[in-house]
Chain length 583, copies 2
């Protein structure tokens, strides 16, 4: 197998400018480097370089999974409706699941995930407890009908995923499988060399109770993570408990008599705080949602929060036991239920359950809307003036809250979700009747887990994490090529001779080399080398060779090393070894 490729024989075209629709740096760089090209919104063609990075990452995944007894298979992209009906997801998945009819008028969808297909695949073969446990996985092309695809491979429509599925006899064994895959994921992302955090996440309606996300740390990440700088606590803000430190908690005061006062035109917490010369956190806001208890009619609930806080819709969803985030009532509905426009509403006199965020614990003599336009109430007290259905954690955690494990001050960082481990229980196996016979010959339902890695997304997240103003900086583990070799005088005989002397021992050691043999000025070649971002750049030019000198530059640190040609190969080999490369 040839390990070096000449630019002139490859198909790589770089761009000076990124297209206008590339919003984040990694997306811009991948486009500019010719790694990917848009075929349709959210749908990309992978150039040779991107494909090489992708394949290397896939091989790391395979290696770690295979060594843990996982079995690779390959499922189709086109799924029959019948399987998705067995779990009710044909209807429940919403518009993200792309459905279509074939020429015979049968319904299909494009697979966005494969729980149904894999459960169908195993259910007739797994017959006995002796067949368990099993873990099957695939690396496969998927489609999710994103309404607004963006950020290149980060949130595309067609994308590559590794999805694994575990099958176990009971919950204990399923959780052992969970640990096994969890540690495989650690090994995988460690080997790629990315900075990542493992965070607790929302189990949502998929079922089961245990789930973690693997998040690559990056400023532009879509996910907000709450992490403790002192202990190992880390959670997606979606589920991170919001705990006020003691010194920020309210101290109950003696209840004063409730009174109404005029607040003409003051409709926002900010305006109200300004007018009353108080802080937003000392005001109380009332939000109205449909509790979803009744499918046909609205059943409103009111939620009280500190004026400074944001409601976390996932917490409210889980509190209400819904499968989707609850809907905020429209302004018109609010007026219908309270008698006032939003901004003048409060909990007193409402004919609906009132729930209160835990941060309001100890809060007395509240200022709230009066349910009459342009009027508020002061000295409103829970239980005396309105009934509290329940006090619970509903707000979005913020930096400065207390760590749920060690009470240190938690911090907020951003991440890109690249992996997800999920204990499913019997959510799919039960409706699909995937059973086995236990030791006593009794039929039991399989326990399952599902485990995803966003393969194409990880490739881009590596660039989002590792780049500088000049271009990409590929980790050695998944770099399309290891060495970018700039031939300043590609036709020069001496240069060619040096080239082949350097290349030979490197190729033997599986170092992959991209040779820029184009007829371009050195400046253009160096700029492109920086843009493509392979770990090492070597420059072979007539002038240097006349001085018996060759320059090697580390892409990451930009450190330059000058040495005679005869020392280059061994220098590179030892650098590669130091940087985790083992051929």
């Amino acid at each position: 197998m040839k390990k070096h490729v000449k630019w002139s024989q490859s198909f790589v075209y770089t761009l000076r400018e990124a297209p206008a629709d590339a919003e984040i740096t990694s997306h811009q760089l991948l486009i500019r480097g010719g790694f990917i090209k848009k075929t349709a919104p959210g749908i990309y063609t992978y150039g040779h370089l991107a494909l090489k990075a992708l394949r290397k990452f896939e091989d790391i995944i395979r290696d770690e999974l295979d060594s843990r007894g996982c079995v690779e298979i390959l499922m189709p992209m086109v799924h029959p409706k019948s399987l998705w009906e067995e779990t009710d997801r044909w209807d429940k998945m919403g518009d993200g699941l792309l459905k279509f009819k074939n020429r015979n008028d049968h319904e299909f969808c494009l697979g966005a995930t494969h729980e149904e297909v894999i459960t169908d695949y195993v259910r007739n073969d797994i017959k006995s407890y002796r067949d368990l446990p099993k873990t099957l996985y695939q690396i496969q092309d998927k489609y999710r009908d994103e309404i607004r695809p963006r950020f290149g491979l980060m949130r595309g429509r067609e994308f590559f995923m590794k999805d694994a599925y575990t099958f176990d006899a009971d919950k204990d064994s399923a959780l052992e499988s969970y640990e096994r895959l969890y540690s495989a994921y650690q090994a995988i992302f460690d080997r790629v060399g990315l900075k990542y955090r493992i965070v607790q996440a929302d189990a949502g309606q998929i079922g089961g109770s245990q789930t973690h996300e693997f998040q690559v740390l990056a400023e532009s990440g879509e996910d907000h993570l709450m992490v403790c700088p002192k202990c190992d606590f880390a959670a997606n803000v979606e589920i991170s408990p919001a705990i006020l430190p003691d010194n920020k908690k309210f101290k109950a005061e003696a209840a004063a008599p409730m009174e109404e006062f005029a607040t003409p035109g003051l409709r926002t917490i900010a305006d109200l705080a300004k007018s009353l010369k108080t802080e937003e956190k000392d005001l109380v806001k009332t939000l109205f949602y449909d509790s979803g208890k009744d499918e046909k009619n609205i059943t409103p609930i009111a939620v009280l929060l500190r004026g400074s806080d944001e409601l976390n819709p996932i917490k409210l969803k889980n509190y209400l036991g819904l499968s989707q985030e609850p809907a905020l009532l429209s302004d018109g509905m609010v007026e219908e239920y309270t008698g006032a426009k939003p901004g003048s509403c409060g909990p007193v006199g409402l004919k609906m359950p009132v729930i209160m965020d835990s941060a309001l614990e100890g809060k007395t003599n509240m200022i709230v809307g009066a349910n009459k336009d342009d009027l508020h109430l002061r000295n409103v007290n829970p239980e005396r003036d309105f009934k509290v259905e329940e006090m619970t954690d509903l707000r979005r955690a913020e930096p400065g809250d207390s760590c749920p494990k060690c009470q240190s001050e938690i911090q907020s960082i951003r991440g890109i979700e690249v992996g997800h481990v999920f204990y499913l229980g019997q959510t799919y196996s039960k409706p699909m009747k995937a059973t086995y016979l236990d030791k006593n010959g009794k039929e039991q339902t399989l326990e399952m887990g599902c485990y995803g890695i966003g393969v194409s997304r990880t490739i881009q997240s590596a660039i989002e994490q590792c780049h500088d103003k000049d271009g990409m900086i590929w980790p050695v583990s998944i770099a399309p090529y290891h060495l970018h070799l700039c031939m300043l005088d590609p036709e020069d005989e001496k240069a060619q001779k040096v080239l082949s002397e350097i290349v030979e021992p490197l190729e033997k050691a599986n170092v992959e080399i991209f040779v820029d043999d184009r007829k371009e000025r050195p400046g253009v070649k160096f700029k492109d080398a920086d843009l493509l971002g392979f770990p090492l750049r070597l420059v072979i030019g007539k002038r240097g060779l006349d001085n018996n000198e060759i320059e090697l530059v580390e892409r990451n640190s930009k450190q330059a090393h000058k040495m005679p040609p005869s020392e280059v190969s061994s220098f590179i080999l030892s650098w590669m070894e130091k940087n985790g490369f083992n051929g």
Copy 2:
């Protein structure tokens, strides 16, 4: 990387019986061996063993293409309508192209082929003659909405293909690219070790003029091939010239007067020949088609053939310059145009062009229908009694015809099309405006070629060609594992020790081993080993070890070799080497 896998840790379940819908042997065997499992009609999940075979074949393809300067990329499965409209194929492709709307009501299709997407991919990057030639390829999942999928992976809906596309400055260069890919395909199928023939094929409407098919020889193949046993002539019957040997040609006789005679109830050539005590080949039949000259109205033509011959619809299509096979006129239409029911029709007095197959050359005093029910004419002579628009080759070639190159007797064999090389010219580049600037700075249209290999189909065709009554016989090149190691006493310590002594040197040499460690009777294990069909089977059992003897069986020849355990590894290594394995 671990090179041996234990059956107990894999996911392989064999079946005694094939499902009723598996019509051909290879389909039955792949299902019975757990290689593939149906997810929906024509849509399969690939088990671990099938995936391994697939990957090995892919690597052979990559190796041969990369070494010839081809560049691998990866295009999406979901294509936007806009690209397919540029070439008019959105409408022309028919129902095989699966179309759908996404949630935003935009139209897409599932890629069945990628000429449009690849042309879009290159058209902005290739700017100059200096960028040429280029060959890009991908190995990718495709979908074709087959109305009646069958034969497993042979004619599935979702399937894997390698598709390559060449881009050249002019026709000469494009034909050089054609030769390069042609020789790559030879190298690929030679390495797999399949018996195949390269045949001329129908260029059809795709454009261009040169095309060959790579056909794996197998009784159950869907393609009929005409091959010369003496020279290298080989063609798909679709386009194979039909040449009568001299001794079978008609010799003109003196024209006798035409006369009508009664043939009550004689509507078929067979009945007529029987009644007249003559041979079918000496009778003349008349067929009626719509020539397709007018899109709105039928424009009938009559075709004369020897009574014993079959019309080749592709030849008629190409003669008429149509893009689809011409339609046979209905019985009612025939009656309307001739005045008689089919079976009593002939060329005399027709008001439509009459074309004549070349095999009728020299035929005089023909017997044909009289265009009156239950009447025929004898002593009908071309030109005297009806006008011949043209005499041309329209019949289906038959064994016994003459080779167009060397006049030997050609033979008929059957094949499975696994590869296709196609010179396209400017069929796609012209409407899609894929141009470059030539040496004189003048804009020129790119010359293209397309080159397909049915990756999943080839895997199955290998089994269709190589099997016996007991199961599959995998070629070493793509065998999922090389060695099937039956442990008769998997828990026996001595057996385990021997196992690891044998496995170690083999793994070092990249020999892949499948260890049957199941608690099953020897008979079951042997049957399964035969079914799965890996090239070598080794049996390690307590009884044999007590006699210091181990049995190795070649799957293909069933030849058994007995030897002491200490000699097994080196025997296997040398066998592997002899059989083309180089690690």
